[in-house]
């Protein structure tokens, strides 16, 4: 199994794509409901191949978000690290669940992710926004099956 090497490259590439898709400027109306694709990718790699993605990739992805969004340094990093950690920790359990239950797990992960960011915003005196900041959690959950399917397909193709 040559997962680690190639897989690492693939994971990095996919995350870069996800980061780009999450950062491309969009009209505000679309921007509020844009799913957090980078977080979804982190969750996916945590569940699918904890040895490849894992906590470190979550940390790096979070730092990238911090830099790009101009947030407090480490804010998104902490949230994404947490999500990656839970994913890696539970990946054996989650993998055996039905897709619906996996969706629930993703939803919970996204809620936790946004909650941590929201919490830190509040503690550090940043503006916390209104209810619309939770919209990406919903859209991310909705987008999850598609994202998972696409990545799964890419994986099986790559392994062939």
């Amino acid at each position: 199994m040559k997962l680690p090497r190639q897989g690492r490259m693939r994971a990095a590439f996919v995350m870069l794509i996800a980061f780009v898709l999450q950062s491309i400027p969009l009209p505000t109306a679309l921007d509020v409901v844009r799913p957090p694709l980078l977080v979804l990718a982190v969750v996916y790699w945590s569940l699918r191949a904890p040895g490849i993605g894992g906590i470190g990739s979550g940390f790096l992805a979070g730092l990238a978000l911090d830099v790009y969004r101009g947030a407090l340094f480490g804010q998104y990093a902490l949230a994404t690290t947490l999500v990656a950690y839970v994913g890696v920790r539970q990946h054996l359990l989650i993998r055996n669940q039905t897709p619906f239950q996996q969706g629930l797990f993703v939803f919970a992960s996204l809620v936790a992710w946004e909650f941590v960011v929201w919490l830190i915003d509040g503690w550090t005196g940043q503006p916390t926004g209104n209810w619309s900041r939770w919209l990406p959690v919903l859209s991310g959950t909705v987008a999850w099956p598609l994202v998972a399917w696409l990545l799964e397909r890419g994986d099986t193709h790559a392994q062939r």
Binding site: M1, V20, S23, I24, P25, P50, G51, G54, I55, G56, G58, F59, G62, V67, Y68, L72, F73, G74, Q75, A77, L78, T81, L82, Y85, V88, R89, H91, L92, I120, T124
Partner: protein, 311 residues
């Protein structure tokens, strides 16, 4: 089972300290946040990271930039044409306004000249626009847009600009034909201001030029002398500036001097003329009541422009 085993292997290799790693990363995050919030010395780090992220940002914004660029190219032609059209319209409008403004300025200047040109023998004056002119060597006429309904009567003195220009000849209800001083059939009784000599100034047939053929050779007259109306004849009130002597020729062939004068009023340029009503009781008018000098008495009751207060 194999998958499980391999997962287990990963777990055994890496996940034994996984909680530890998480704690480590989390601690790093908290430390970062703490220093970022407190010290601000992470600004330079952030600055550097932003600098490395700049190419990425550029790449991220390039699709929308490219889209804008192409759209601009295609819209450019239409937009420029539309803008051009709008500017043309605007320009035409502004040119019209400028022309109107220039006209108003000229009108204003002429009206001021009329007002100052009217002497105190003038009781009322009525401005009129020139709507037609005929200036041949046989006929020097103007048509203006005021007539009997405005109180204009036949044989009424008309001034323009700096002096007398003629008198009304044929009065219609809404327009009047004016015979100019320079018409060959016209004569105006004048007086030389320097010497008081009275004579007649006849029209020469050339625009603005008068001739004074009845001055004897020995008359004291020279170029530069001023002519005013003498008030004789009952048509023109006395004292209105008429012309300036331009040329005096004396030769032995004739007992009379050949004298030419140029009218003060610019016959070919003035576009506003003014009918005047002399003050009835003024001695210069000969004391005749106005009604006796012709015209329609009823028409005179119609409103005309009030005169400048006499000074």
């Amino acid at each position: 089972m194999a998958a499980f085993a391999s997962g287990k292997r990963y777990l055994s290799q890496r996940s034994a300290p996984i909680d530890l790693r998480f704690v480590g990363y989390a601690a790093a995050c908290v430390a970062l946040m703490f220093f970022d919030q407190r010290g601000g010395w992470l600004e330079s780090v952030r600055y550097g990271l932003r600098a490395t992220a700049y190419p990425l940002e550029l790449a991220l914004s390039s699709p929308s930039a490219a889209w804008r660029f192409t759209r601009e190219i295609f819209e450019e032609r239409a937009a420029l044409q539309a803008e051009n059209r709008a500017l043309r319209d605007e320009n035409r409008k502004l040119q019209l306004l400028a022309m109107q403004r220039a006209r108003l300025e000229r009108d204003n200047a002429e009206l001021r000249a009329l007002a100052t040109g009217a002497t105190d023998v003038v009781e009322q004056w009525l401005p009129a626009d020139v709507i037609g002119s005929e200036t041949t060597s046989l006929k020097q006429r103007l048509t203006v847009d005021r007539g009997a309904v405005n109180g204009v009567f036949e044989g009424q003195a008309v001034i323009a600009g700096a002096g007398l220009i003629g008198q009304s000849l044929r009065v219609g209800p809404w327009s009047t034909e004016i015979i100019l001083l320079s018409d060959p059939e016209h004569a105006v009784p004048v007086q030389l201001t320097r010497t008081g000599v009275r004579t007649l100034a006849l029209g020469s047939g050339e625009s603005g030029l008068l001739s004074l053929p009845y001055l004897p050779l020995q008359t004291d007259v020279r170029a530069g002398d001023q002519l005013i109306t003498s008030g004789l004849g009952g048509v023109f009130p006395a004292g209105i500036p008429v012309a300036e002597i331009t040329e005096v020729r004396r030769d032995g062939n004739s007992p009379l001097a050949q004298v030419r004068a140029r009218a003060y009023a610019a016959f070919d340029r003035d576009r506003i003329v003014s009918f005047i009503w002399p003050r009835a009781a003024h001695p210069a008018t000969g004391g005749k009541p106005r009604a006796e000098r012709g015209g329609d008495p009823d028409a005179r009751k119609l409103p005309v422009t009030e005169p400048e207060p006499a000074r």
